[in-house]
Each structure stands twice: as structure tokens, then as C-alpha cells.
């Protein structure tokens, strides 16, 4: 739809909704530069950021989050892409069941993923004597949750793709593997990237599943922020939040630039 003059009340509602979404975050950022432990403004400072630099626990948590995020993103991107290709390209018994299975994680509340895996790992520990390291548990859980999102995003891209290109490549003498890497993957790439980005953000942001699976164990960044928020102590949490906000915004902006303007070439 396009170009009609909008009534002012509609613009006012929209502005109010954006204010509602963004003002709390802007206030949070502003006060990360406030030279006071309380919310009265005492002047500009960087000292909360300096204090951040001295917190070893913060860097450990950031490191754990990055490791978990990267490992689970790579795994779910590979598994999810293969699954998407299998579903889009092959006819086999149980295909409809598989397709529905892919959508189950999307509609399952995170807390159920967390507690059901808690039960599974509990059974591993109590009855099989296998106690997995906490970080491995988190990675397994994140991959289980993220495969579906990658599959759905990549599949949407696959649907719009022209199969003839691969067939043409093979007729011109490329074997199946060459055709896959030189023709299919480059065309799929924006889909894989957006799927991977979605997976990484969900993994990096996850508090629910991680907190259920690890309890006090290996702490990720969201768990650290949660614990600080629940205790609501020092303004360093405003500084951490600002760093996270700026980091994610840059990541989203960069990926927008990377994946935009790459329509399917036919």
C-alpha cells in the first residue's frame, strides 16, 4: 500500500508506541554515564565502564556466552540447512511428520525445553551415571531449540530458488558436490546467514533454558545480568546493558548490510 496522508492521531499513537519501546532503554543508557550510585544526576562519568573492566566474572561470563553462542550457531546452521534441503528436495515416507516436527520448537515455550532437558540430563546422571559438563548441556539445548528456526528461514530461501541452475551446472560437467558448493550454497547464503544470526542472538540472549539447566553452574552473560538486576546493586549493570545494547545493534546493522540487496539471481 502507499501514499495517503495519515491522520495525526495515527502518527501520535505510533510515536507513543515507539517511545514506550525505546525510552526505557535510552534512560538506562543515559544513566550508565551518571556520576552517582543513585538516580539523581550528578554529572558525566566513565567510571562505571572502568569498573566493568576490572570485573573478571564479567569477562568469564562473556567468554562462556560467546563459546556457547558460536558452537550452537555453527551446529544448528549446518544441521538446520541440511534438514531444510532434505525437506524441500526429497520425497520420502514420514516427510509430513518431519515438517510438523520442525514447527514444534517454534510454538513450545522455552521453559518447557529447559525443564524437559533437565529431566533427560537428570536421568543421564542418576540412572546412567553420565554427568555432562554444564556447557555441553547448554549447547545441546540451544541447538535443539535453534535447528528449527534455521530450517524455516533457509527453507523459505530454497523455495524461491531455481533448481535449473544446479541442473545446468551438472549438465555442463560439474559433479553433484561441486554443484552444491558452487551453485546452491552461494544462492542460499543470505538465508543461512540470517538463520545463523537468529540462532546466535537467541543463544546469546537465553536466560530461561540456561538457568534451568545449570543452576549455579557455568554462568553466561544473561545469568550474570539477571543476578545483578535481581539484587539491583550498582550502576555497573547499566554500563553492561549499554555495552550489550550497542553490541547487538551493531551486529544487526552489519547483518542487514550483508544480507540486504542480494535478491535471488535467476
Amino acid at each position: 500500500m502507499k501514499g495517503r496522508a495519515l491522520p495525526p492521531w495515527l502518527i501520535a499513537i505510533t510515536a507513543a508506541v515507539y517511545a514506550f519501546l525505546h525510552i526505557p532503554l535510552l534512560v538506562l543508557v543515559a544513566f550508565s554515564f551518571n556520576d552517582s550510585k543513585f538516580v539523581n544526576w550528578e554529572g558525566f562519568t566513565f567510571r562505571w565502564y572502568q569498573e566493568l573492566m576490572e570485573k573478571d566474572a564479567l569477562f568469564e561470563a562473556l567468554w562462556v556466552s560467546l563459546e556457547v553462542g558460536i558452537a550452537s550457531t555453527v551446529l544448528s546452521a549446518v544441521l538446520g540447512t541440511l534438514l531444510a534441503m532434505g525437506l524441500a528436495r526429497h520425497r520420502f515416507a514420514g516427510r509430513t511428520v518431519m515438517e510438523s516436527l520442525v514447527y514444534v520448537p517454534v510454538v513450545t515455550p522455552e521453559i518447557m525445553v529447559g525443564v524437559s532437558l533437565l529431566l533427560l540430563f537428570g536421568w543421564f546422571r542418576l540412572d546412567l551415571g553420565i554427568d555432562l559438563p554444564p556447557m555441553l548441556k547448554i549447547i545441546i539445548a540451544h541447538v535443539a531449540f535453534n535447528i528449527s528456526f534455521v530450517t524455516i528461514v533457509v527453507r523459505a530461501r530454497l523455495e524461491g530458488m531455481d533448481r535449473n541452475l544446479e541442473e545446468a551446472a551438472m549438465m555442463l560437467g560439474a559433479d553433484e558436490i561441486t554443484a552444491f558448493w558452487r551453485v546452491t550454497v552461494p544462492q542460499l547464503w543470505p538465508g543461512i546467514l540470517s538463520g545463523a544470526l537468529l540462532a546466535f542472538t537467541m543463544s546469546f540472549d537465553d536466560y530461561v533454558i540456561t538457568s534451568l539447566l545449570t543452576g549455579a553452574g557455568s554462568s553466561t552473560l544473561p545469568i550474570l545480568v539477571y543476578n545483578m538486576a535481581a539484587k539491583n546493586i550498582e550502576p555497573t549493570i547499566n554500563a553492561i546493558s549499554t555495552v550489550i545494547l550497542v553490541g547487538t545493534t551493531l551486529l544487526i546493522y552489519a547483518s542487514e548490510r550483508l544480507t540486504r540487496d542480494q535478491p535471488l539471481k535467476h
Partner: protein, 271 residues
């Protein structure tokens, strides 16, 4: 595709089946399950305090969905006609979705708690002498849920408005329909797929939330998610926690079935 399937089965579906089985077993103190079939965990949901939790979860989640719809529809409409501003507005809408949920919740706490920005400013202006009890409260929980899930409502509605053929509106106008009638009889019905999808995407995570209710509502807004978390992490009654999870899942299922029926109806009408 095999490894992905195996992973989904082993670490998603089988644990859910496990939990379903556990919901009929006997609890062991401090976590774990014991043999013996029982329905008792499900029957506990007929106790008044547990019924109250179920009721609260459903009503608040419906209220959150309705508020997201009321706030999100106008925004989606404005984006769909925004011309050169479109990309920027979409970016503003998805930004909170990509932003850490915990950080956003903390931002609301920072504004609304007793020593928060709102109370401090009002006290400094001399408008109030005691801090307003803004948080923990139902209001704070609603603010948290709505601001958390609003993008899920805006984007599907925007997508279906984008597909709307402007010539239909012109036709309605030529035929004498006033703006209000054009909206209720052309725009709204054609955007229903987006409205239904958006409502589902808001309602489901709202049903399952427990962090927002915990941080912003304190003990005042116990959702079924808080019950589940409590049973697994504090009380240690895993079978009851499992039963509570499946009560939650059954509510999700009702919402999904409703969505699928509406979608099929819409497709039948379109065809």
C-alpha cells in the same frame, strides 16, 4: 538431513515425552521420579490456589495479546504506508526483538522501582512525598510483557498489510465507502491472517513467561511458568512440575489449533 532429525528427536521430542511420562509418576524428595502410576498431579490443578494461577496466566496473557494488538495494529499500518521511512521504522520495530530480554526487563525495573527514575523525578518535583508502588505490580508485569512481545504482533500484521492491493481501496472509495468503512470492510478483513498469526506469536510466549512475572511482579503475579520453575528448582517435585508443564502445553495447543483453523478458513475463502 539425518543428523538434524536425530538431534530434534533426541533432545527435543524425547525429553518432552519423558516429561509427559514423568507427570504420571511419583515424586522423590529433592528431585527425581519413582515408579507408580498416578493422576494426582493433574488433579491438583482443581485446587483453588492452582486454579487461580491457571486463570491468572490465561487472563493476563489474553490481556497482553489484546494490548499488543491495540498498540501494534496502528504501528503496522503506519509502517505499511510510510514510503521512504519504511525501512527505518521496521528497524526500530525489530531492534527490541534482537535486544537482550533481561536488559529490557531491567530497563523497566530501573524506571519503575521505588528508587527508580519515575519515582525519583516525581519526588524531586514535589508531586509525591512517598514513592508510588509501581513495582512489583500487575501494571509492571503488563508493561514488561507488552514491550517484550509487541514486535511479534507488528511484523506479521505489517506483512499482510504490505500485500494488500491498493486498487481495492480505490475501488471501495469510488464506490462511495468512507474511510471508516474502507478500513473495517476492506483493510481489516484482508489483514486478518497477520492479526491471527501475531496474536499466536504473542500469546504463546506470554503463557510461558516466568522471568518477567518474577522480576516485575514479585509474588503478586505467579504464572504457571513460575509454578513449573519453582517445582523443578526449589520444591523438587518433578512429577508435579511436569504435569504443570503439560497443562501449559495444552493451553498452547488450544491456541495453535485455533490458529490453524482460522488459517485454513482464510485459505478456503481466498481460494
Amino acid at each position: 538431513m539425518l543428523p538434524g532429525t536425530v538431534w530434534l528427536l533426541a533432545f527435543f521430542l524425547i525429553p518432552l515425552l519423558f516429561m509427559f511420562a514423568a507427570s504420571f509418576l511419583k515424586p522423590v524428595t529433592y528431585g527425581g521420579v519413582d515408579a507408580g502410576f498416578t493422576f494426582s498431579h493433574y488433579l491438583r490443578f482443581f485446587e483453588p490456589n492452582n486454579l487461580a494461577i491457571l486463570w491468572r496466566t490465561v487472563v493476563y496473557s489474553l490481556a497482553c495479546t489484546a494490548l499488543c494488538l491495540l498498540a501494534g495494529y496502528p504501528v503496522a499500518y503506519v509502517i505499511s504506508v510510510a514510503g521512504k521511512w519504511k525501512n527505518f521504522l521496521v528497524f526500530l520495530t525489530v531492534l527490541p526483538f534482537w535486544t537482550s530480554f533481561i536488559v529490557r526487563t531491567f530497563a523497566i525495573m530501573f524506571l519503575m522501582r521505588d528508587t527508580g527514575v519515575i519515582n525519583t523525578v516525581l519526588q524531586a518535583l514535589g508531586l509525591i512525598s512517598e514513592p508510588l508502588p509501581l513495582m512489583p505490580s500487575v501494571l509492571a508485569v503488563m508493561v514488561g510483557l507488552v514491550s517484550g512481545f509487541l514486535p511479534f504482533m507488528v511484523l506479521p500484521i505489517y506483512t499482510s498489510l504490505e500485500k494488500l492491493d491498493p486498487s481495492l481501496l480505490e475501488a471501495a472509495e469510488v464506490l462511495g465507502a468512507r474511510p471508516f468503512a474502507r478500513f473495517t470492510q476492506v483493510v481489516l478483513p484482508l489483514s486478518m491472517p497477520g492479526v491471527v498469526a501475531g496474536s499466536l506469536l504473542v500469546f504463546i510466549p506470554s503463557l510461558g513467561s516466568f522471568v518477567t512475572t518474577d522480576l516485575l511482579g514479585g509474588g503478586k503475579t505467579v504464572f504457571i511458568g513460575n509454578l513449573v520453575q519453582n517445582q523443578f528448582m526449589k520444591v523438587g517435585n518433578w512429577p508435579f512440575g511436569s504435569a504443570a508443564s503439560f497443562v501449559m502445553m495444552s493451553m498452547v495447543l488450544v491456541a495453535v489449533l485455533y490458529y490453524l483453523r482460522r488459517r485454513d478458513q482464510a485459505q478456503a475463502m481466498g481460494a
